[in-house]
């Protein structure tokens, strides 16, 4: 069992209280290479809209709007900061590793691969909080899936309700 200090590390507190890239993209449309997706955690009321601007190769801009707890806000903020400018392939790899770290009870965290995102490794020991950290990532997952379908759809919302480990 991690301590609360492991859950709320400096970096999490910092991003939780002063989130980066917390803004909307107005006129977000498929034609402009922009996709947005809503995420909602019905358990605690965390709400998010994640915006991604991409030419199909690189994620040129990521930002979000929403209100929730420190874990959720920090996770959203760091997602946008870390992934900005990365290629779609890189983003998919980080996304997979991040979700694996938080939702697979057996997984060993890989701080090397995730860089500073590894600070969320401690969340795994607080099962009721896993969904807070994964919500923006589930929204990103849905955006990437819609882009690879080339549908560009922004309909529907995701929730991270299934993200709970034993």
């Amino acid at each position: 069992m991690s301590s609360l200090r492991d859950l709320y590390q400096e970096l999490v507190l910092d991003h939780g209280q002063r989130p980066r890239n917390k803004r909307p993209i107005h006129d977000c449309s498929h034609e402009k290479g922009c996709t947005h997706r809503e995420g909602y955690n019905p358990l605690c009321g965390d709400k998010l809209t994640l915006y991604v601007k991409s030419d199909g190769e690189t994620l040129d801009d990521l930002c979000f709007e929403g209100d929730g707890c420190a874990i959720f806000t920090a996770s959203s903020s760091m997602l946008t900061e870390v992934l900005k400018g990365k290629s779609v392939a890189e983003v998919k790899e980080i996304l997979g590793e991040f979700l694996e770290m938080l939702t697979n009870g057996e997984a060993e965290p890989d701080p090397e691969g995730l860089g500073k995102l590894a600070v969320f490794g401690g969340v795994k020991d607080f099962p009721a909080r896993v969904k807070c950290a994964t919500l923006p990532w589930r929204a990103l997952e849905a955006i990437l899936a819609s882009q690879s379908d080339d549908e560009g759809t922004t309909a529907g919302a995701v929730d991270s309700n299934d993200d709970q480990i034993d």
């Binding site: 301590s3 609360l4 859950l7 709320y8 605690c44 709400k47 209100d67 929730g68 009721a128």
Partner: protein, 416 residues
């Protein structure tokens, strides 16, 4: 039959003032635990656990069936529990009490069997902005099915119902008014007698959701003159999966059955069924017999403490807690009704309730965080969630002091 009887006679308000009723609750013998989530579900006293195990160990059989003595005795215990609920609520007859799984099932039963046959498209169902989702969603579903319109009595800034708006909302199309007795999210005690009187003037039947009321105050359904009163056992120190609906006998007799099955029939041929009389026709299938008996034991327990003593003691805790939490900077209590139960729903400036809840858990303090299944209330106050400390007979002022100290540490940690 009633192990508490002797003890009960010597219990009074002073007994509760000593250390609450904590000693009666096995789970709370863990001295480190500060349990402040009775509004979600209350802990169980030893006498309730004993009633459950005694029944399964020495008295168990199905009811209303066997000619053998064990089955007859089980039937007597089950029907005895119904009688305890009748007396607990002040109902005229025990047949006015129908066992259900809880308040939620009770409200769904009433939506289906009482209200549905009475509504036409354009008719109105009146509830309030203060309701738990269990007293909203069944009515929304019924509205979608029948074309009936759902209307809400609005809230005020103190978390009370705006009763000035009520007379106009009670129209000649209003078919039912369903209102909570005590708000789960705010603690507000609604003036249900007054509300029922206003509805009665317009000939509108009233359903009262008493899930959050019965653990804290004495209820007399005949004095209230409500048409129905529903509650859950698990918030009343009883088992989960059991609750009851009180209804006036004239209503039960006129209502179509709900679920079909065994135990609710007089005779079944291949062509048709003749239904049993109420309450049996609303209790299809083998019910939660042990749960009903456990609920009966829980009622004996709270009556042993005395509802008047419980109310008085919890009001003292409410006053003490208001002062203790008032000393925490940045803490704002949501729901400041003049008449309220010992519930503290609050926001802490700069720290989200979900983070507060995790920190409190780190200090072994159990609270509820979130929207409390009452999102329209959160919307009214413009907040996504609150932290809620809800008290029961086992709590003491020391629990509230522990809460306040932990909140001060949280403020320090988050540097607010």
């Amino acid at each position: 039959m009633d192990p508490l009887k002797d003890v009960a006679d010597c219990r009074d308000l002073e007994f509760l003032r000593q250390n609450g009723a904590r000693a009666d609750f096995p789970l709370l013998q863990n001295e480190d635990l500060v349990f402040l989530d009775s509004g979600a579900s209350a802990q169980k006293p030893q006498v309730v656990l004993d009633a459950l195990t005694d029944f399964y160990r020495t008295g168990y059989a199905n009811i209303h069936r066997g000619v053998y003595r064990l089955s007859q005795q089980a039937t007597e215990l089950y029907e005895g529990a119904r009688g305890k609920i009748q007396r607990f609520l002040g109902a005229a007859e025990s047949s006015e009490i129908v066992f259900v799984r809880g308040a939620t099932e009770g409200l769904n039963l009433l939506a289906h069997s009482f209200v549905r046959p009475r509504v036409q498209p354009g008719d109105e169902i009146l509830i309030t902005q203060m309701e738990h989702h269990s007293n909203i969603v069944p009515w929304q579903m019924l509205g979608q099915e029948t074309g009936a319109v759902l209307k809400y009595v609005p809230l005020t800034g103190t978390g009370e119902l705006d009763l000035a708006a009520l007379p106009e909302l009670l129209t000649d199309r209003t078919r039912v008014l369903a209102v909570t007795h005590v708000s789960n999210a705010l603690g507000t005690i609604n003036p249900v007698a007054e509300i029922i009187r206003l509805a009665r003037e317009k000939g509108v039947p009233v359903i009262v959701d008493g899930a959050q009321a019965v653990p804290h105050l004495a209820v007399d359904v005949q004095a209230l003159d409500c048409d129905f009163y529903v509650f859950s056992g698990h918030k009343l120190y009883g088992p989960t999966g059991i609750g009851a609906v009180y209804g006036k006998a004239e209503h039960w007799r006129a209502m179509p059955p709900w679920q079909g099955g065994g135990d609710m029939i007089l005779s079944v041929t291949m062509e048709q069924t003749t239904y049993a009389e109420p309450p049996a026709c609303f209790e299809a299938g083998t019910p939660d017999i042990a749960g009903a008996i456990g609920l009966g034991a829980a009622i004996d327990y709270v009556q042993g403490l005395g509802l008047a003593n419980i109310t008085a003691y919890e009001q003292e805790l409410l006053a003490a807690g208001t002062e203790i939490l008032g000393a925490v900077p940045g803490l704002r209590v949501i729901g400041t009704a003049a008449d309220k139960a010992a519930v503290f729903s609050f926001v802490l400036e700069g720290v989200h309730p979900h983070d507060v809840g995790t920190f409190l858990d780190g200090d072994n303090i159990a609270v509820r965080t979130g929207h409390h299944c009452a999102q329209p209330i959160m919307d009214y106050f413009g907040i996504p969630a609150t932290t809620r400390a809800s008290l029961g007979v086992y709590n003491t002022a020391a629990d509230l002091e522990a809460l306040a100290e932990s909140l001060l540490r949280i403020r320090k940690f988050f540097r607010v």
